[in-house]
């Protein structure tokens, strides 16, 4: 790797090629399309003129980008016309991802992404490094982050090897595929069959219209499902002294490392059709991941599908302690306010966690470590007041998963819960 004065480093020399392939190729194709009516000679000439320009732009962009690790922060300078200097304080590091898009993987390259608390988007993606460099840099970043959090006593020499890790779970392909099929594809098929039956019974001539209408629906469903299987294929969750390590991906592989104690909230989802198999999906959220964007979404799974018992043990392990079972039901009059899910509304609380479950079709259980609670809100709508009910919201810094809500509790009980949770959250905050 090119080392510049002052400890600055460049990205891998193949970066312009890959970045060019991703950024310039669509433009070239677009231009060729626009020139559709022109003679071949003109099109070739345009191509010959634009290619060197594109190559030059990619090269300039590469040569203007440099990075280094100094003073507890990652520094990244980039930009040709607009110079940009980024300083990422590693004390606020929430997660480090090593991403390998398919093409980069073939060339042995990888991209490094950092998630920082308060960052609206992924901070300072470094693309591309060699696999080894990416791994080494990640190690150093995590090291610096752990040290700046732990204080002066942790001044061990920089490590050279990856921390030893313990594999917690590896998801086989079969349940992943089956569980995906049991979601949207099955519902889509059911709806289409039903519509088909109705059409056949009423007027056979409308069948053509139905087929036309069904095509985008089927394509969409197949696309989403295929993408889900491809991103979550080969899912492995491991634990090391650096934190949780999540690996997955069929074509584009991704390896995320979440340092210890960064998990803000955990959600356990149990869709209706998974219940006979006892499967659940577990999602986690840290403070950094931005809302929206499917790249972020793929990282949210702690386990895409696993037997319930195993999943709950994993959650307890990740949050560092046994979880209270959500057992406390809501008063029966809550059925007037939420008739479909009143039976499923449950709350569990111990000294360290608040667990709330809800949901009509998909049972959702949110777990919030009390030490991560940002604010508590007691809320009572007009209907709830009539019924003597109230809800308690526990807000966390998670972006996609906002926290846990104890819906429709007895109003007095909700008040009590507010007092107890706020006292225990304070104890948890000061304990650390």
């Amino acid at each position: 790797m090119t080392v510049l004065p002052g400890g600055w480093q460049r990205l891998h020399p193949l970066t312009p090629l890959l970045a060019g392939a991703r950024g310039v190729l669509p433009v070239l194709i677009g231009v060729q399309f626009a020139l559709g009516g022109q003679p071949v000679a003109v099109r070739l000439l345009v191509l010959l003129a634009t290619l060197p320009l594109a190559a030059l732009a990619a090269y300039l962009s590469w040569s203007a980008t440099r990075y280094r690790l100094a003073g507890g922060e990652l520094q990244v300078d980039s930009g040709v016309l607009t110079r940009r200097q980024r300083r990422v304080p590693l004390a606020r590091l929430q997660s480090v991802d090593v991403v390998q898009p398919f093409l980069a993987r073939l060339l042995g390259l990888a991209e490094l992404r950092l998630e920082v608390a308060g960052g609206g988007s992924t901070e300072a993606p470094l693309q591309y490094l060699t696999e080894d460099d990416a791994r080494r840099l990640r190690l150093r970043l995590l090291d610096v982050a752990a040290r700046s959090g732990a204080g002066p006593e942790a001044t061990a020499a920089p490590r050279e090897d990856e921390a030893e890790e313990l594999l917690l779970v590896a998801v086989p392909a079969a349940p992943l595929v089956w569980s995906t099929l049991l979601g949207a594809p099955l519902w889509t098929a059911a709806v289409l069959l039903l519509a088909g039956a109705v059409v056949l019974a009423v007027d056979v001539r409308a069948l053509g219209g139905l087929v036309v209408a069904a095509v985008p629906l089927v394509l969409g469903t197949v696309g989403t499902s295929a993408r889900r299987i491809a991103t979550e294929y080969g899912f492995r969750l491991a634990e090391s002294s650096d934190g949780l390590r999540i690996r997955h991906g069929l074509f584009e592989t991704r390896s995320a490392t979440v340092p210890p104690g960064r998990v803000q909230v955990v959600r356990v989802r149990e869709p209706l059709l998974w219940r006979p198999f006892g499967w659940v999906r577990v999602e986690v959220d840290v403070a950094g991941y931005a809302a929206g964007g499917d790249q972020q979404l793929s990282t949210s799974a702690l386990v895409p599908v696993a037997p319930r018992e195993l999943a709950l043990r994993l959650v307890a392990r990740v949050l560092g302690g046994a979880l209270p079972a959500p057992v406390a039901p809501v008063p029966s009059r809550a059925a007037w306010r939420a008739p479909l899910q009143a039976r499923r509304l449950r709350v569990g609380l111990d000294d360290r966690h608040l667990v709330c479950s809800s949901g009509v079709v998909t049972t959702t259980t949110d777990v919030v470590p009390l030490g991560k609670v940002q604010s508590l809100r007691w809320r009572q709508g007009p209907w709830q007041r009539r019924l003597g009910l109230a809800s308690l919201h526990a807000d966390t810094a998670g972006r996609r998963l906002p926290g846990a809500v104890a819906w429709h509790r007895d109003a007095g009980e909700a008040r009590e819960l507010l007092a107890v949770v706020s006292a225990r959250a304070r104890a948890e905050r000061t304990a650390r």
Partner: protein, 128 residues
């Protein structure tokens, strides 16, 4: 004929005005009562470790925001509020859902609250 219709018109408009009054006074009155109740529902309480903010008549809310969780405090005063020397203090945490704010504070009280919150927040800051 003309006189009669003019008298009818006068009578009619008087009845109309009466009608407006009859409907308007209770409406205005109830609007005032609603504003009054809304105003009285507002409240905040500085506890040792957190701030309580209460609001709402139709939907009642009570928020608890620990000082150690505050990321920043906003003091906002629009033109009308400034005219009457008022300001709104808003608390922000790392959670997007936090919605604690205290409107209609006297400017000096808003400044005091802001400074106190900022000082307490700094003293008790807890990491994410």
């Amino acid at each position: 004929m003309l006189v009669v219709s003019a008298a009818a018109a006068v009578l009619g408009s008087a009845a109309g005005a009466l009608g407006v009054l009859a409907a308007g006074v209770p409406l205005l009155g109830s609007a005032l009562v609603a504003v009054e109740r809304r105003y009285r529902a507002w409240g905040y309480y500085e506890r040792e470790d957190d701030l309580l903010v209460r609001r709402g008549v139709l939907v009642r809310r009570l928020s608890v925001v620990p000082y150690g969780r505050m990321q920043y405090v906003d003091v906002v005063a629009g033109p009308l509020a400034r005219r009457y020397g008022l300001a709104t203090v808003t608390l922000h945490t790392a959670a997007a859902a936090t919605d604690a704010f205290v409107p209609g504070l006297r400017a000096d009280e808003a400044t005091r609250l802001r400074d106190r919150l900022a000082a307490l927040g700094e003293a008790r800051q807890a990491g994410l």
